[in-house]
Point group: none
Chain length 223, copies 4
Amino acid sequence: MPRRPSPSRRRAPRQERSQATCDAILTATARVLVKDGYEAASTNRIAQEAGVSVGSLYQYFPSKEGLVTALLEQHRARAVADFEAGLVPLAGQPLAVAMRALIRQVIAVKRENPRLNQVLHELMPRMRERGLLDVYSQRLFRVVRAFLAPRFQDLRPQNLDMAVFILVTTVEALCHTAVTERPDYLEDESFVEEIATLALGYLRPEPAAVPVRRTARERTVRM
Amino acid sequence: MPRRPSPSRRRAPRQERSQATCDAILTATARVLVKDGYEAASTNRIAQEAGVSVGSLYQYFPSKEGLVTALLEQHRARAVADFEAGLVPLAGQPLAVAMRALIRQVIAVKRENPRLNQVLHELMPRMRERGLLDVYSQRLFRVVRAFLAPRFQDLRPQNLDMAVFILVTTVEALCHTAVTERPDYLEDESFVEEIATLALGYLRPEPAAVPVRRTARERTVRM
Amino acid sequence: MPRRPSPSRRRAPRQERSQATCDAILTATARVLVKDGYEAASTNRIAQEAGVSVGSLYQYFPSKEGLVTALLEQHRARAVADFEAGLVPLAGQPLAVAMRALIRQVIAVKRENPRLNQVLHELMPRMRERGLLDVYSQRLFRVVRAFLAPRFQDLRPQNLDMAVFILVTTVEALCHTAVTERPDYLEDESFVEEIATLALGYLRPEPAAVPVRRTARERTVRM
Amino acid sequence: MPRRPSPSRRRAPRQERSQATCDAILTATARVLVKDGYEAASTNRIAQEAGVSVGSLYQYFPSKEGLVTALLEQHRARAVADFEAGLVPLAGQPLAVAMRALIRQVIAVKRENPRLNQVLHELMPRMRERGLLDVYSQRLFRVVRAFLAPRFQDLRPQNLDMAVFILVTTVEALCHTAVTERPDYLEDESFVEEIATLALGYLRPEPAAVPVRRTARERTVRM
DNA sequence: GATGAATGAGATTTCATTCAT
DNA sequence: CATGAATGAAATCTCATTCAT
């Protein structure tokens, strides 16, 4: 089932050989991007790394930008799909359990190929300007929304959309920033715990924002 | 007091006129960056916009990257300084009050010149790779840490550094992402309230993830 | 009767199907040439337009240039043949009648597919450089020469070859240039009349260009 | 007095050095065009021939096409100016005298650098498509029109514009085609005479298309 | 110091042509 | 014969940077 043409694709590979070439180019792009970064990654270099000629590259991708967008799309698509898949078995779980599982999954994904994640993450705004690729962000948003919606009446926030925005943005940012700035946190189980606390505290019905003095006996911080 | 030379500066302007030229160039850089983006911003274009020759530009800045880094540093330096200044009158305030004030300030800064903030934000990783500019992140971190430290014994988190990392990252990400993706939230007072709830809920000693009775009949909200 | 191979042909199509393919390619070439111009017309594009693969194109034509030359030859061959055919019934006609008929025919041909005529016309010098295709110019020349020769003793010019050159060049240029620059003239019957006057005035025995008083009493025509 | 920017110019040279560079590039373009033709003439090759870098070329000309157009414009401007200058002393002359002088001048110009004339001539349609350069054709037209207008009442044609179109097109085509196909004619004084006869015969008041007796013996030349 | 003309390596992209399937 | 994926030389053009004036 060949993909249909898009701003990031030129010709859909029809034969096996083409598909292989196409894949090789995308893989090579990831490698070169990781090694050299976006600016320094030239299409000739990528083609060479893929073991094909530049001509072949331009047969399947309309431009350097298109090529990178295609990779980014592939990446995002997988990420979102994985996330969705990860959500399925959590449907019946308590929120606290599900939340921890999801955070662990996000961290796992980020750790898989941190450098590539990094580079692609930085590329996103550029691609977004071209008007591409928000599909995946939206889909992620919808998935989380669907997950939260049935439980929402029992939770504190009033505005479901805003709550989803806040949760998705927060968890994503924490995991992502940790990769770059505090890789040690990624190994630290308490990091997951803290993010979970943050998210669950935000959702739970008790008034959260009121600074309350502890009393002497009020020691129990159970989470 | 002329700045000392750095990887982002070539020579320190000694005379007033030089300082003016230097500023003109930085201002022009910001304008061009906003208008054309980083890639399309050429040094010739910037020099023209600043009303000086390329030669002059290279008298003060060693390279395009240095120029942009200088702008970024200036920007970050101001942002951190402003933040620090904003913190001073909040020293004695309850956390809930201070938190809301700080969130409002962060949003205010982001809204001032969203496009420039955006562009510079995207440039940060690139500059970070050159090993520059983490000074300001660190300083911001220390400032927040110093603000939180005295109250920390009364708060839930055990790891002060991690808590600071989480708070700074979260608030920054939410405000920043809102600029791009949900500018409507920036006008919405409840957005501030939600962020405050998120942050304060994270800090307060109460158990956060514990099922709470809602009614007498023990309607458990599973989280 | 298959054509023999030439610098513009690779192999002679033997079967009907081949002939059809060959024609389809030539037709497609004309279409693409008209639509995109010579530079922008790529062989892949032409093959696609013809509904065949590039490979097939190169089976019949040795190169892009060969392909275009073949089209040009076909075109010129037809034009000259048509012209020749048009001349036959004019054999016995008075020169003035024949001339007008011929001019009308030339205009008619040019108007048929002005854009294609235009493009091919511009391509001629390029092809001429490769030493091809003068055959048709020469043949046209001979045809006109043969038409004029029997009446030449009654006409003014002394040098038949030069007269033919002048007539052919003039009529061709006027009709061709009119297509591009003054298409309105093509609809204008007086345009035909003027060209006829030009040509016939050139041929007729009366001294035309002598700005000399003919007789003492003659009304001097200052030219 | 620097030229103002146009589709064929990028930056106006302000210093002497620039002007020299600019001229060198145009001269080199002519040389390379003559040697290699338009297609084969690469901008790198031209820059090299001019003894400057490609960068300099693109500082003054926005594209290969712009460069060639600039050369073409320069060439046409000179040709038209020369033609105009040549016309001045002919103002009071009888038409027949002026016509011969003008034809000789056109031929002289064409012979000067036949190959360059050839190449530029072939390039004209391409440039015309970009909407450039008809200024000179129009100016030539107006000049000839102005020359003919005062005498027009004594001449045969009714439509001055059409007459000018016909004369200009015819003379230009004959001279031009002769360069390529019959260079021997350019040396032949009778060729000038024939063109003059053609043109003057077209203009003179006598009915041209009427059968005229040649001798007393009544050998009617039917035209 | 200031100027801006000059540099030229190098990036992206095209397209005529080949040849394995 | 047909196909169309693959090739890769080469073309156009940009832009950070230098340096003579």
